[in-house]
Amino acid sequence: MPVANTIQRTSIRLPSARRSGLWDLALLPLVLCVLVVLAFGAQEMATPYQVGTAIDLSLDPLYLPYYLLRTTVRMFIALGFSVVFAFAFALIASRSKAAEKVLVPILDILQSIPILGFMSITVTGFIALFPGNLLGVECAAIFAIFTSQAWNMAFSAYQSFKSIPPELDEASRIFRLSPWQRFWRLDMPFSMPGMLWNMMMSMSGGWFFLVASEAISVANQDIKLPGVGSYIALAIEQRNLHAIGWAIGAMLIGIMIYDQLFFRPLLAWADKFKFEEGDGNTTPKSWALKLWRRTAWIQTGYAAIVRTFEGTLRHFRLKKDGTSPPNRPVIQHRHAERIWDVIISLVFIASIIKLGLFIHSEVGWPEVGHVLYLGVLTLIRVIVLIAVASIIWVPIGIWIGLNPRIAERSQAVAQFLAAFPANLLFPIFVVGIIHFKLSPDIWLSPLMIFGTQWYILFNVIAGASTIPTELRFAATNLRLSGILKWRRYYLPAVFPSLVTGALTATGGSWNASIVSEYVTWGDTTLKAEGLGSYIAEMTATGDFPRIALGIGVMCIFVMGFNRFVWRKLYQMAEKGLNF
């Protein structure tokens, strides 16, 4: 049968593995070394420990590599749990309509609960889980990191699962893929690019809240786990600027290691999962992945793993086809759906009543009014800061986005800046505010978007760099200039990405208000009146009803803002915007 040889055969095979003998030898001890170090780090987590005793921490930079190792292992474990959680959530929520109705709003709420909130509720439980061992505290810290990473990953996986193209879904059904096969062959690969991007963002979130999750000072506990976060906390307590500098260096190295050895290879590998046809964007490259692919013994091992894994695919298959009747008759869904709706509403109403009674007996209504007022204060800060950040970063982002060479590099930089914990800036702000006798209510605010404004910048860059070339030419050709150019060309082009970026930044800023409205440097404490400082204060003293109240109010603000502001803006952006 004739074949029209219309295209050149493109081979994706790698250069021959013959020359790889040297790599093989060099890489073996290296990989073993990394494994041993990681194992050591993991082992250190399970040392005996009594609550109340202080763990030795030193500001000597020689200890930093060890601390960095501990932090890295912790974040890695948390990331692993986050991935599992994200996929499990997405699977359940996308397969079952009934579960979806409950799970998605719950995740929405979880996402708006600040990290300290989780911490104060769970830490005692985790410690009680492993009496006399550090593992309990480690679990609490890992859980805290998990809560700063998992939610957006879960949403990303869920949205990917829901947006799987119908023809691929049909193909997977025609070829009778079992749920297990479908997950590995369709769901997982399809959600991979979005997942990776969110994992990288989550990692930055993890670093940002590192101090809060390692130096546990909630519910009258004061435990500092060995790690970079505790190192920073100790440096702030002792007003040690040198140590702060060292910590910044260690973080930079940690982020770089993650980037080079973990995310880069993953990105390069996951490039094949991109669903859209290549639009000329450069494919990510990774020297680590290249090494990995060129090393024969790794490849042998990898192939063996793949074989075993494909064995499970063959094992968990559908045993029946469409000609065998289904096990249980399909029941009429309409009534079941109604009943489920009623149950959900009842539970919702019951919990509102319960909450009202609880607030009434534990804190009283005047306190609620006060906290709402604090919420408004923080809301004003968030809105003003996001607006200011947008005005600053949109033009810069567009400029960078239209210069592909700069845009390519900006990703790594933005990632690092987003990871930079606000705590590291405390000394500058505290000294500055005291020296110039400024009002902390205003001047502590910039800390709030310090870590989150980069999302605006980064999304605008991404949006601007995808402006079609024809559009650029057209704009030049029509000699658009000045205000008209902005109204008709730049702003409409980047508006959707600006909305996405600002949405992420707002969510992050609410969360960050807890660390940035309540700032310490040695024994100096500065406080900006707001919801963040309220929660931070109550967490430190372990006042549970008030923590719950603070968190609840913050949830209401975040979700209300999402619903009434961002959703509208999204719809506007979707319709195509005209200024």
């Binding site: 049968m1 004739p2 074949v3 029209a4 219309t6 295209i7 055969r9 493109t10 081979s11 994706i12 095979r13 193209p165 023809e167 691929l168 049909e170 193909a171 059904r173 025609i174 070829f175 009778r176 893929l177 079992s178 096969q181 062959r185 369709l186 690969p189 094949k272 999962f273 991109k274 669903f275 046809e277 290549g278 074989r307 494909e310 695919l313 063959r314 094992h315 298959r317 559908l318 086809d321 469409g322 000609t323 065998s324 009747p325 289904p326 005209n578």
Partner: protein
């Protein structure tokens, strides 16, 4: 041809439209696919032929009626039925080899066996040497070959092809079609029956032993035409030409001759609606009046010189008849006196004629104009109009029809349109009166 493989009996299917009402897509459809035959389903888009295909594939369930495969009722995709998709539906992250192996892996076939059978299917369909490539590295024709190999490797008894060639350019599509027919003739295919859904008339004539024409709103098998020509068929031969001719006429202006419709009233495909653009209508009319046709033309020939897709051509011809600019009889289309005046007129004249004709012959536009005149605000949102259309068609079709109708009405100066506000209103001149 006597052994039935797939049987459908009085199938009904409706979909919920956006306003909550049900819309009947398939109305009491009977169909039997027998061993050894190729059947083509022809029809305008939205006529329910894809839905019927998916019911046979076990992807959607009918509201009522029986579907059976080899005498057994089916509840989901059956092992002996496979499918080729219009958009290929390849898994972009799997190599050609892995894509073809997908169905075998799902069955739990051993790896060595998977490789062997996939290799066979790949070489059968002419893709040797591309096993390690990813789909994105292949041309459209190659990708569809992978899609076909992936379906054939399972040795299905029935192969369903859902507009399998329509996403390809004409040359590539014909080439691939001929290859499939060659395989079919040679007996190398394990497949016993082929069902082809298409809107390309020539494709149907070239492939099928039987052509079924679907009418829309609601979907019914309106006519059935057996084709007894031996294969390979000559695309330029007189027999094929005659059949294409017949089918064209049948699709544009239904006769009772081939009708299988139980109630004799012939449902027009269009209901006084159209998706043809003004440019298409003008284009077809101009070619009809010009040399070499000079006012009367054979439908397929006119279609060929019009250089638009079969669907678009049928829509345009339909619209010409609807507007009284042409008539169709026995496979020939002729221009009317009014049509001649239209063709010779300048832009203003054309708009005037079009406007007049619309306000007498196109009920949708007549109603639109009337309700506008009665509205106190003299304006109406698109959504109202869409809702009216969605009583008889699905959302995306409704949007396409509305787009065309608005273009007509604007051209004929019947209404004005504000696209950014999604409103229609009366033209200024009329408001002053």
């Amino acid at each position: 041809m006597s052994n039935p493989i797939l049987q459908l009996r009085s199938i009904n299917k409706s979909f919920r439209s956006s306003d909550g009402s049900d819309r009947l897509v398939l109305d009491n459809v009977d169909f039997t696919l027998a061993e050894g035959e190729i059947v083509a389903l022809l029809g305008q888009s939205g006529s329910g032929k894809s839905t019927l295909l998916r019911i046979m594939a076990g992807l959607i369930t009918a509201d009522s009626g029986e579907v059976s495969y080899r005498g057994k009722p089916i509840y989901g995709p059956a092992a002996g039925v496979s499918m080729v998709f219009q958009s290929f539906a390849l898994f972009p992250w799997l190599t050609v080899q892995k894509n073809v192996e997908l169905g075998l892996e799902a069955l739990g076939v051993s790896p060595a066996e998977q490789t062997r059978r996939a290799k066979e299917a790949i070489s059968l369909i002419g893709l040797e040497g591309f096993e390690g490539s990813l789909p994105r590295e292949l041309s459209g024709g190659m990708r569809q070959r992978v899609g076909i190999a992936r379906a054939l490797v399972l040795e299905p008894e029935v192969l369903l092809m859902d507009e399998a060639f329509s996403a390809l350019d004409v040359m590539t599509g014909e080439h691939l079609r001929d290859d499939i027919l060659e395989l079919w003739q040679s007996g190398k295919l394990p497949t016993k029956s082929l069902l082809v859904v298409s809107h390309n008339i020539e494709e149907a004539v070239m492939m099928a032993d039987r052509v079924l024409i679907f009418s829309s709103n609601p979907g019914r098998v309106r006519a059935e035409l057996p084709i007894t020509l031996s294969r390979p068929r000559q695309a330029k031969g007189p027999e094929v030409h005659h059949l294409v001719d017949t089918l064209y006429t049948e699709m544009v202006s239904p006769s009772d001759h081939y009708s299988t419709d139980k109630n004799k009233t012939v449902t027009r495909t269009s209901y006084g609606l159209s998706t043809a653009t003004v440019a298409q209508i003008e284009g077809v009319l101009e070619r009809l009046v010009d040399d070499p046709f000079r006012g009367t033309a054979d439908l397929p020939k006119l279609a060929e010189v019009s250089e638009i897709s079969d669907n678009a051509f049928i829509n345009a011809a339909d619209a010409l008849v609807m507007l009284g600019l042409a008539t169709i009889e026995k496979g020939d289309i002729s221009v009317t006196t009014l049509g001649k005046r239209f063709e010779q007129g300048n832009n203003e004249r054309r708009q005037e004629i079009m406007g007049q004709q619309m306000l007498t012959n196109v009920p949708f536009i007549v109603n639109m104009r009337h309700s506008l005149e009665q509205q106190s605000s003299k304006e109406m949102p698109f959504e109202h109009l869409l809702k009216v259309l969605e009583f008889s068609m699905n959302k995306s079709d409704a949007e396409r029809v509305l787009e065309a109708m608005l273009e007509w009405a604007r051209y004929g100066n019947v209404i004005e349109v504000d696209f950014s506000k999604r409103l229609i209103y009366l033209p200024d001149a009329d408001q002053l009166q």
